[in-house]
Symmetry: C2
Subunit: 792 residues, 2 copies
């Protein structure tokens, strides 16, 4: 052991860690270029080169370097660590490093740790049927990074929440660092409690270039760079250079310092000492892009420039390019690193940690292995009781908040449940949570602050990206959670949802990936109740976006009342490997189903509401279908009106909770079989369908059903403003009066009276308009409306 | 004039600016609460209170303060300035301030500058038929801010690019500052050239709280805060306090300093002196949330706390609450501010700048007024020539890049055109631009850097949010631009697109908002050509998202080749008030239409390709429709195969460029009339439709057409990975072989041969699979395929 802390590596340690790095770089280059001759036992021939060379060299040497040095501190300090690969297309590095440590071959025995395996390792990369160029579900040790950029740091923080012994080494690429989600994720340190959480060690890797440009952070001066990260609350340790020996020593010293500082912070906190917000260490690593690769190709600068980003030798089959490639690969001296059978030399292999401490085998990066089922209270205990359907108002999300409070309570000991939201937990009526926990907050507090505490389990920051990223990281490492968000602004994470759904889809095809808890999103403060906010806050299109993903992965629920919400939420919290989207309003609304009926209704996902229908003994003249809390109210109010206007009319009321029941069974596991669907909707009865979202979604989902000519859908058609709740539905023609007119237009029985009904409804709409523009609120008959058709 | 720079306001100036502020605060509170009695000429009565009190007080006093002080420096330094209101729900402040300066009443004569107008001003706010609680198209001086949070700063920078005399004072809320897009937008200063651009003066307003939480930046220490912003490259000027007199003096001093520093930077740069990257000033303003509002209500802390966020007095009709409200509003002494007719006292009114220097009347904030048409070269000059359809390969975006280069060239003098992209301009084959301009870059450069320059007009940062935000700001202030982006990652700005589309929709309803240039987005590097990148980069769903918005606003084009792209792009660059989305691949692909045919085809938006069809003299047995470059290739290759397999088959080939032609004319201005549609598609002929995106979108758009039973759509069904280009279409069953099988399944003429055709196609697919897994690239017959059916 060397005693100079700035030179922590003995000559032998330096030699060995450098050898590991050379091996990893060699294997990375081999993946991009070679089909055969993996050990370069003979001179390279053009036919040994891949016909299509796809992949990214630029970020690879830096990742290999960091992986080697992380291994070193794992062994030195007996760490439990995972490696998060923020830079885009770091695939070759992680595949190489996990192959070197042996974890790759354990997952993929075919890719053995010998010459045969090495040849397969090279061949499979970016090859049909092979592995992608960035970290992916196929990559051991990955938790979804480096494909779409910007989320690595939030994932890393999510991973270490409630994992006090875990260290997430998170490499942030300097390209990725320019994204918004990454730029704000640095602030996650204000939400890490060193007493109960693990630590993130961010490494900002300044290799200087993106695809074709320098990066912003690589071109500001060191002083600004340090101030920026001190301002973010970190203590930056800078490592910079292009001499491998010096960089190895500097990096080893910085890693030692960082790990020791982290331990110091954690030990103090765990002894109960907490000297103000922690200044966590981070590393800024400035090394050349494509380091150790070709300096120049065809007279153009490559190493240390953006041309190293992708494949540094464009056409490796010309003699000159083949020579450059061979010289480059031989510069790592593979013959010193591997024996003739392709086995890594034992003294190099010995640098890897053992068993599950190898980062490719760490179960935290295959979180399903560690997943403990959530302890759930009996949701039936939270049932809202009421004398009859529609007789009383209730607040669905408030009731659900009480349930969520007790979910939180039951899982406090296992510490594996958190609730995320962009500053809206209380606004979304989930405040009961604060009876049992607080908002996580490590920054300064004042005595009048409201439920802020270092050990809070509600996570709020005004960044949907960060909330979603934290939760993804938390779920991917085997825990449970819940995200509540304004409906319109969930679009902010459309693209993050895409990536998570794609991740889950591929995981389902990989046997060793253990199922994880579902991503549960509650969209409340929805399009129909934005009286404060107006048009900019009105968009129900997230569910349109969601249903484009694989049916195996996505579920969408629109519970019409509190008891239905309880049932649905319980199902979601119990599920695995899904994205569940629940849409439910937070305002006081009529309650329809007692708990027993709610269970029956929601477990079917769709059903006739007998108590609201009067077609029991006759064929229905019209089917009034509804999906969503507000459309359900308007539908029942329309039924109410129709009972007065046309008591002879036989109306069937159908409510849809599980949107995917509408799809054919062949297309979605929750889809009704055609005979079930036809039993509900008939094939020749006019259907007036009142829907929460954009009407086309219903047409799309029922496209293969035999109801086209009879189906009329009302929904949001992008008409909105700051107005009363009822006026919002009127502007979009989803209100009771329009629904009655729709019935009058479509039911033969009413054809003689259509004009009269239209006139009556039109008069009501005029009255409504006059009333709200005078009084600023809805007419009393609207505000105080209660379902009474059953009585009539 | 006072000579102490820390006390720039004379006692009289201080008295007057404070009076203005009181007036603005009074008017803001009045908007939230009052229906009548606007001047408090009599004691407040419950019936004078709005029945529904909607709005946000918390951020308002700070905004009013900043507006008043910006007016002061506009007059002192003869500035041309706009005011960008980042904090959420700052509506009351901007409405109040523009009413005080007179610009509001000029737009809305009904809201006159007297007692009657004041009463209407109060009543309309958050009232049915009135104005929203945040800045909106209705708000004079706004360029789309404060609804969905996070984009104000990028908009501000976009606004000042190429506006050397413009100052954008941009208030950033400390809630908004937590969002990702805002956190990275601070780096926009690296792209501002003080010689040719205007300046942004950011004011970070730390009022400390979001809806129910403190903000992160308000709870870190001042030293960290200053380091953070110095790290971002600013020189922060801190103004903090809760004593109005002191804050007025401090803020006035800070504004003076900031304006003078900005002028200094600009003057140096414009003299040709450029001493390294500019350290632009910014202001950090720390004042209480809901400042000057009620201290306490019902024993609970309000002023300076999150309870001031929304309506600070929840139920203003109880006697106690009414008393608090009246005391609060009278504390501004309206009788000193307004005369009995409600006119603002002349000495206060005189604080406003004059004419277009009033920020509510500044034409930059109604950019259409300043819009100069883009000078466009004749796109026909860029036509790709080729001997016959499908005979040669061409790169559509590369050709288009040459056109774009000359658009850039023709508008260099007017300096009103920029191209944005997240580091992908070259990757997307638009490099011809660099023959005429560079990438904008103010940070450090090296001699080997590639087309970086302070006066570059291509804007690249690895943040789709920032690119989109800059471009929106640039367009909203009356200029033109173009955004090219990877197709999958445009979802990152789904929500920003929503907000811009909603803005345009409302602007169309406001007579004084002049039309602006369209937002043009080119999606290249699309789903079908992600050989390097794989599944994470494959998502064609942005167009699904787009078509949910109002038909008046959105256009979607999928040109099949270079000449069609040229035509379409020209149309888009000439259009106003739209969002145009163009999807076109960047790879070498067959070219189909000479320029004359392309013009004819694209101006119709859809059409039969006669040269590829053989139903001229007979009724078609099958219609092969295609939309998108790759589906067009596969369709024509399938036609080729079918000519061999079944020469007797009459095939009609239809290509769709303008997706919206498929919608009924009643639903979209570009939609075909039913008779036109039926003439193309018949009503009884099998249609095999190969589509670029998710197949449901075609079903949705054609829902009202009479083709359901005959329409079969192939498209992306979320099957993807790293593989060959042709294998991507195979995995999604969009390839020529599957299309042939689809025809065989559906055309009665082929029923006897269906089994044989299936077997033959299946054999080809097996051969394909074997070939790619052996060779890593597509079969030569696929790679070298050329259209030759015409010859056959």
């Amino acid at each position: 052991m060397n005693n100079d802390p700035s030179q922590p590596l003995s000559p032998n340690e330096l030699r060995l860690i450098h050898a590991w790095w050379r091996a990893a770089n060699y294997l990375s280059a081999g993946q991009i270029f070679l089909m055969d001759n993996p050990l370069l036992e003979e001179p390279l021939r053009p036919e040994q080169i891949k016909p299509r060379r796809l992949g990214h060299w630029g970020t690879t040497p830096g990742l290999n370097l960091l992986y080697a040095h992380t291994n070193r501190v794992i062994r030195k300090y007996a760490l439990n660590a995972i490696f998060i690969t923020g830079p885009g297309h770091g695939g070759p590095a992680l595949v190489a490093s996990t192959w070197l440590e042996g974890s790759y071959s354990e997952r993929y025995p075919d890719i053995s740790r010998d010459k045969t395996g090495m040849k397969r390792l090279f061949r499979q990369f970016s090859f049909p049927g092979g592995v992608p160029s960035h970290c992916a579900p196929e990559t051991p040790g990955s938790i979804n990074e480096g494909g779409e950029l910007g989320y690595s740091l939030a994932h890393a923080f999510g991973a270490v929440f409630d994992n006090p012994d875990l260290l997430a080494l998170c490499v942030v690429g300097d390209g990725e660092a320019e994204t918004g989600p990454l730029a704000t994720a640095w602030h996650s340190n204000k939400f890490i409690n060193p007493a109960r959480d693990g630590a993130v060690l961010p490494v900002l890797h300044l290799n200087g270039y993106k695809i074709a440009n320098p990066t912003v952070l690589a071109r500001i001066d060191d002083d600004s760079l340090q101030q920026l990260f001190r301002g973010y609350g970190y203590r930056p340790l800078i490592v910079a250079g292009d001499d491998p020996d010096k960089v190895h020593q500097q990096l080893a010293a910085a890693m030692d310092t960082a790990v020791e500082e982290i331990h110091h912070i954690q030990q103090n906190a765990r002894r109960g000492e907490y000297p103000g917000p922690a200044q966590w260490p981070m590393i800024i690593l400035r090394t050349p892009k494509g380091w150790t690769g070709p300096r120049e190709v065809d007279g153009l600068r490559v190493e240390g420039f953006w041309r190293a980003h992708q494949v540094p030798i464009p056409d490796a089959t010309t003699p000159e390019h083949l020579r450059i490639l061979e010289e480059w690969m031989r510069s790592y001296h593979p013959e010193e690193l591997f024996d003739r059978q392709g086995h890594l030399q034992p003294e190099i292999a010995a640098l890897a940690p053992e068993g599950e401490r190898r980062m490719g085998a760490n179960p935290h990066a295959n979180g399903g292995l560690l997943l403990k089922p959530l302890q759930l209270p009996d949701y039936q205990d939270y049932a809202l009781d009421f004398p009859a359907p529609g007789a009383t108002l209730g607040e669905a999300t408030r009731r659900f908040g009480e349930y969520l409070r007790d979910v939180m309570k039951l899982n406090l000991d296992t510490a594996n449940f958190r609730v995320m939201g962009p500053d809206e937990t209380a606004s979304n009526r989930l405040s009961a949570l604060f009876e049992i926990t607080d908002r996580a907050w490590m920054a300064k507090t004042f005595d009048y602050d409201d439920h802020l505490a270092p050990d809070g389990r509600v996570m709020e920051i005004l960044s949907e990206h960060t909330c979603q990223g934290w939760l993804e990281g938390y779920l991917l490492t085997g825990r449970h959670g819940f995200f509540s968000c304004y409906e319109a602004f969930i679009h902010i994470v459309d693209s993050m949802f895409n990536q998570h759904a794609k991740w889950l889809k591929v995981c389902n095809e990989i046997p060793w990936r253990a199922p994880i808890a579902s991503l549960n999103i509650l969209l409340t403060s929805h399009v129909w109740r934005q009286d404060h906010n107006g048009f900019s806050h009105q968009d129900p299109g997230f569910i349109d976006h969601v249903v484009n993903k694989k049916a195996d992965i996505v579920r969408v629920y629109l519970p019409p009342d509190a008891n239905c919400l309880l049932y649905v939420a319980h199902e979601c919290l119990n599920s695995r490997n899904l994205v569940n989207v629940i849409v439910a309003g937070k305002q006081p609304e009529p309650q329809w189903l007692d708990m027993e009926s709610a269970i029956k209704h929601c477990s079917a996902g769709i059903g006739i509401w007998d108590w609201a229908s009067n077609d029991q003994n006759e064929k229905a003249d019209v089917i009034m279908a509804c999906c969503g809390d507000v459309p359900t109210i308007e539908t029942l109010a329309a039924v109410d009106l129709l009972r007065d206007i046309a008591p002879e009319l036989h109306i069937r009321v159908i409510n849809v909770v599980d949107l995917m029941t509408l799809q054919p069974h062949e297309e979605h596991p929750h889809g009704l079989h055609d005979n079930e669907f036809n039993a509900l909707f008939n094939t020749d009865t006019p259907i007036i369908f009142a829907f929460h979202g954009y009407p086309w979604l219903i047409h799309r989902l029922t496209y293969r059903r035999n109801i086209h000519h009879h189906l009329h859908v009302r929904g949001y058609k992008e008409e909105g403003t700051t107005t009363t709740p009822f006026d919002m539905v009127v502007l979009n023609e989803l209100d009771r009066f329009h629904l009655v007119m729709d019935v009058a237009d479509r039911v033969p029985l009413l054809h003689e009276r259509t004009g009269h009904i239209h006139q009556a409804m039109h008069d009501k709409l005029v009255e409504h308009r006059q009333y709200i523009t005078t009084h600023g609120e809805d007419m009393p008959e609207i505000r105080n409306w209660k379902w009474n058709a059953a009585a009539g």
